[in-house]
């Protein structure tokens, strides 16, 4: 091995370690700080304690907000997966003129629906429909925003399944809904899993819509409650924030692991080739 080669290797290793360190610091902070008796904004080996969790339990909103997050995420995921599956199946099997244009326009508009631009109209709409301070309102708005992308991904999966499966089911007397349930859904299950996980992750992390539409802190999800964790002095309450962050991220990680083990993600199926 020449000197150059050695130097090259050392250089590469250093570079990789730096990059790794840069990205792992926040994760280390997330892992250690909740157990630190003196939580700080930097990552350090904790002076071990479980006291921070005690503080968290005493906070009136923390646990309820996690429950609210679960309600919102589960509701939106169920609605998005169901509606997207029905719509994607129909769009993939029925010939409508301008179908692709329709999909692309929806996709474009969807980023506006849940974005800042539509904040005021959405608030007014929800207000007039009496959907302020209701989980249902948030679920409906988020579903509307996520549906186009979900339909887009799922349509690719349904397009890829041969129509002869469905025709076989039809010949044996299955109704369209039975065909969907017995044949199409099981065949595109990896796609449904992908869309479900993606929806949950989106809703779990969404701040703007619940912040806008939920006035009552008892109903606010974790992503909103997180912003209320300040000390009386106006400083971020790091003990609370770090502990809460850990609890907040665990369900999403758990879900990823579960779903990927159970169904296996097949993202390549959702990408236009």
């Amino acid at each position: 091995m020449s000197v150059r080669e050695v130097l090259r290797r050392i250089g590469l290793a250093t570079f990789v370690s730096l990059v790794l360190g840069f990205f792992s610091l926040p994760l280390l902070w997330l892992a250690f700080t909740p157990f630190d008796s003196d939580p700080r904004i930097s990552a350090s080996l904790p002076d071990f304690t479980l006291h921070n969790f005690q503080v968290l339990m005493d906070n009136p909103y923390a646990l309820a907000s996690l429950r609210n997050s679960i309600i919102l995420a589960a509701g939106a995921a169920a609605l998005v997966v169901t509606c997207a599956a029905l719509a994607a199946y129909a769009l993939s099997r029925v010939r409508i003129p301008g179908r692709d244009v329709l999909l692309y326009v929806l996709l474009l508009l969807s980023s506006i629906i849940t974005g800042t631009a539509a904040m005021v109209p959405i608030f007014l709409l929800a207000f007039n429909l009496n959907l302020i301070d209701s989980h249902l309102g948030v679920i409906l708005v988020l579903t509307g925003g996520l549906l186009p992308a979900a339909i887009f991904v799922l349509k690719d999966f349904t397009d890829a399944t041969p129509t002869s499966y469905e025709e076989a089911a039809r010949v044996f007397g299955a109704t369209p809904l039975q065909t969907l349930r017995h044949v199409v859904v099981p065949v595109i299950r990896p796609g449904l899993a992908t869309v479900m996980v993606w929806t949950v992750a989106q809703v779990w992390g969404d701040f703007l819509m619940p912040f806008l539409l939920l006035r009552d802190p008892d109903k606010a999800p974790a992503s909103v409650i997180m912003y209320t964790f300040y000390t009386e002095g106006g400083q971020p309450d790091l003990a609370l924030i770090s502990t809460f962050s850990l609890l907040y991220s665990l369900p999403v990680v758990g879900m990823y692991l579960f779903v990927s083990r159970r169904y296996g993600f097949r993202f390549h199926g959702g990408i236009k080739r």
């Binding site: 002869s164 025709e167 089911a169 039809r170 010949v171 044996f172 007397g173 017995h182 299950r189």
Partner: protein
């Protein structure tokens, strides 16, 4: 068990393709019926229209006593085997076979028992727990058959049931299918583009071209007396000799030789009329010595077909094929004579069989 009656059946696809053109056809109860024709002639379309997967543009489909033209597929009481078998990939063999009963709301143990019975009938026991992807092509085909059979439909529709099998398995499956159909006695329509398959399996054959039926008949009729030049050229593993000819009194002049006028054409053709003289290689007797009223020429090619050989004679520039039995094959470049067997030569005028009144042709 039912008769299938198609009248004036027309299918025009959205793009404007006329896949079926005012087609009339009656398939008898319990018959094993083949739809035969070149690619794109509308065989699959016909089958799918009978199944209800395509709606007829005009005309009607009757199964038994019922006019099913406007009924959805599930209410026509048909069982279908698709060309790619369309077995549900996520279900076990049992669940696949039992699926039609599941739609009919049969109890689980009941339908599993029925599936096991049909599977045993088709030699599938031992495979019931597997997924379709864990089966061989022949086994998949039988699972598809079992699924079509399990609800005891009135009619079976098979779309190229053998084309996905390799050559040896195809022969086996051919025999198996024919035997099974005979035992069940269910009216069966199957699509094929392989004329040998149609001849071997069917009770009757409809030969199609461009959305129309060119001839209907038993394999023997279609083979011996093709109603027109299209059928004549399509049927037969060695193509029929079709030679431009002219009537000369009591004889026909074809490829420069005078042959006796086929018996049945007497009185139906006039002296000097232009016709096509047709005779199958199977019905030409080869002779190494001169014979009257025969094709005479130089042996151009000898192809070995196993138990016989196909000899090609060059008769004044026209190539005539004759089948020669084992042991009497000529050498290339010898001179040879091919004698049409009495009653086996056919005359075509304007593309249709002269005296073809006895063969069924849909208009």
């Amino acid at each position: 068990m039912a008769v299938i009656t198609l009248s004036g059946l027309t299918k025009v696809y959205p793009g404007g393709v006329r896949a079926l053109d005012a087609l009339d056809l009656e398939i008898a109860d319990g018959e094993f019926f083949a739809l035969l024709g070149p690619s794109g002639c509308g065989k699959t379309t016909l089958l799918r229209t009978v199944a209800g997967l395509e709606t007829a543009t005009a005309g009607s489909v009757r199964i038994g006593e019922t006019d099913v033209t406007r009924l959805p597929p599930g209410r026509r009481d048909v069982g279908m085997v698709f060309q790619d078998y369309a077995l549900f990939p996520h279900m076990s063999v049992t669940d696949n076979i039992a699926y039609p009963l599941r739609i009919k709301k049969a109890a689980k143990n009941e339908r599993h028992a029925a599936a096991a019975d049909v599977a045993a009938e088709l030699g599938l026991d031992g495979l019931l727990a597997r997924r379709p992807s864990e089966l061989s092509g022949g086994q998949q085909q039988r699972v598809a058959l079992a699924r079509a059979m399990v609800a005891r439909p009135q009619v079976f529709l098979l779309d190229e049931p053998l084309s996905n099998l390799d050559a040896r398995l195809r022969l086996e499956a051919r025999t198996f299918l024919k035997k099974l159909q005979r035992e069940l006695g269910v009216t069966t329509v199957f699509v094929t583009h392989d004329q040998a398959e149609a001849l071997a399996m069917a009770d009757r054959i409809a030969v199609m071209e461009a959305g129309r039926i060119r001839q209907i008949g038993t394999p023997a009729e279609v083979f011996r007396r093709p109603a027109n030049l299209f059928v004549a050229a399509f049927i037969g593993s060695t193509p029929m000799n079709l030679v431009d000819a002219r009537v000369r009194g009591e004889q026909v002049e074809a490829a420069g030789v005078l042959l006796p006028l086929p018996e049945e054409a007497r009185g139906l053709v006039t002296d000097g009329q232009a016709v096509v003289y047709g005779v199958r290689p199977d019905y030409l007797d080869y002779s190494p010595s001169p014979v009257d009223g025969s094709f005479s020429g130089r042996v151009a090619v000898v192809e070995n077909l196993g138990s016989s050989s196909l000899v090609t004679l060059d008769v004044e520039g026209v190539l005539i094929h004759a089948l020669v039995g084992e042991g009497s094959e000529p050498e290339p470049d010898e001179h040879g004579w091919a004698v049409p067997r009495a009653g086996r030569a056919l005359l075509y005028s304007d593309g249709d069989l002269v005296n073809g009144n006895d063969v069924t042709v849909a208009a």
